[in-house]
């Protein structure tokens, strides 16, 4: 079965950045269940049918005058406020999303700056074959 949207993952030293983040942040299985559910919905329906699934574009904390207009966060209201950042495309804007970096919101503030996600997005644009892989769940 082909899904409407393919979900790619940025590769951090050859490993899925989201998988690495889940492990390093010691995200609970309950929160991981919520995150995976949201990613499945994104693959099945994209953004249109599901208000609140994605938030953004996100403004950079470091460069407050500049909105990173391509970066969104996937909103998960779990035991912790998971907000992994992603972008539409960036190769096929009408058929894929790429998970770029894990993030957690505490007191309304993200623990990762969106500028880091934008750097990764640029890397993917320059070399999509080497910097990301499709999640097998959404192939």
């Amino acid at each position: 079965m082909a899904y409407k949207w393919k979900i790619y993952e940025y590769l951090e030293r050859g490993e899925s950045t989201i998988g690495r983040w889940l492990r390093e942040e010691d995200i609970t299985e309950r929160d991981r269940g919520q995150l995976v559910s949201k990613m499945d919905m994104l693959a099945l329906q994209g953004m249109d049918l599901l208000p609140g699934l994605l938030a953004g574009p996100i403004a950079s904390k470091k460069k407050r005058d500049r909105i990173q207009s391509h970066i969104y966060k996937l909103v998960v209201h779990g035991q912790r406020m998971l907000r992994p950042m992603l972008c539409r495309g960036p190769v096929d804007m009408g058929g894929e999303f790429t998970m770029l970096i894990g993030a957690i919101e505490v007191g309304g503030i993200l623990n990762v700056d969106v500028a880091e996600a934008e750097v990764r997005r640029q890397e993917v644009i320059a070399n999509p074959e080497e910097t990301r892989r499709i999640n097998g769940r959404y192939s």
Binding site: G33, L44, L49, L50, L53, R137, S139
Partner: protein
């Protein structure tokens, strides 16, 4: 079965319940929020219009349509069901049914007809008649000049005939190829209304 359902079947089978519970609860919230939005749009309602029906604010409707909202109560859902003219079904399900439900999740699945337009509620014989294209009634606008008038009269003995307008048989109408309109009249005879002429 798709890759999501295959993977989910394995993940839901793990001994610890946490992943399964987190996934299922998130999917439930997503389902309810998305269906409220889909049903509202299916009925051509704005958030303001739905809020007016429920005597609440647009912000409450907007919040209800957010996939991250989780503080549902049955009373509110019942009110929404009444506003949409559908029934509310709350059911406990086995985890094994979840993967297929997830795979089928789509706007088409979420759309539900209101009770007054639910074709499944027609009586069976009427439903068959309605599904036969030959029994379809077409309402076609036509100019007065295309109409003939059958004169009415009152017959001795109690029969009453009525003045009625019929399409002139010499005219044809767009979308109705091969459809002939007889010019005639109708009269009430012994309680029955009969077409004549």
């Amino acid at each position: 079965m798709g890759a999501i359902a295959e993977a989910l079947k394995r993940e839901l089978a793990t001994p610890e319940p946490d992943f399964a519970e987190g996934y299922a609860e998130s999917f439930l919230n997503t389902w309810i929020a998305a269906q409220i939005k889909v049903l509202r749009l299916q009925r051509g309602m704005t958030q303001d219009a739905l809020a007016a029906v429920l005597q609440t604010s647009q912000a409450v409707i907007s919040r209800s349509e957010n996939v991250n909202y989780s503080a549902w109560n049955i009373g509110t859902l019942k009110k929404l069901a009444r506003a949409f003219e559908v029934r509310l079904k709350v059911s406990f399900e086995e985890y094994g049914t979840l993967p297929d439900e997830v795979e089928r999740f789509s706007e088409a699945v979420l759309r539900k007809d209101k009770r007054t337009e639910d074709r499944n509620l027609l009586h069976a014989p009427m439903a068959q008649v309605a599904r036969n294209p030959e029994n379809t009634i077409h309402l076609v606008p036509m100019p007065k000049s295309h109409l003939g008038i059958a004169n009415g009269n009152k017959n001795p003995g109690g029969d009453i005939a009525y003045d009625m307008a019929f399409p002139n048989g010499n005219n044809s109408y767009p979308g109705m190829p091969g459809c002939a309109y007889p010019v005639g009249s109708a009269s009430r005879q012994g309680g029955d209304l009969r077409a004549t002429g």
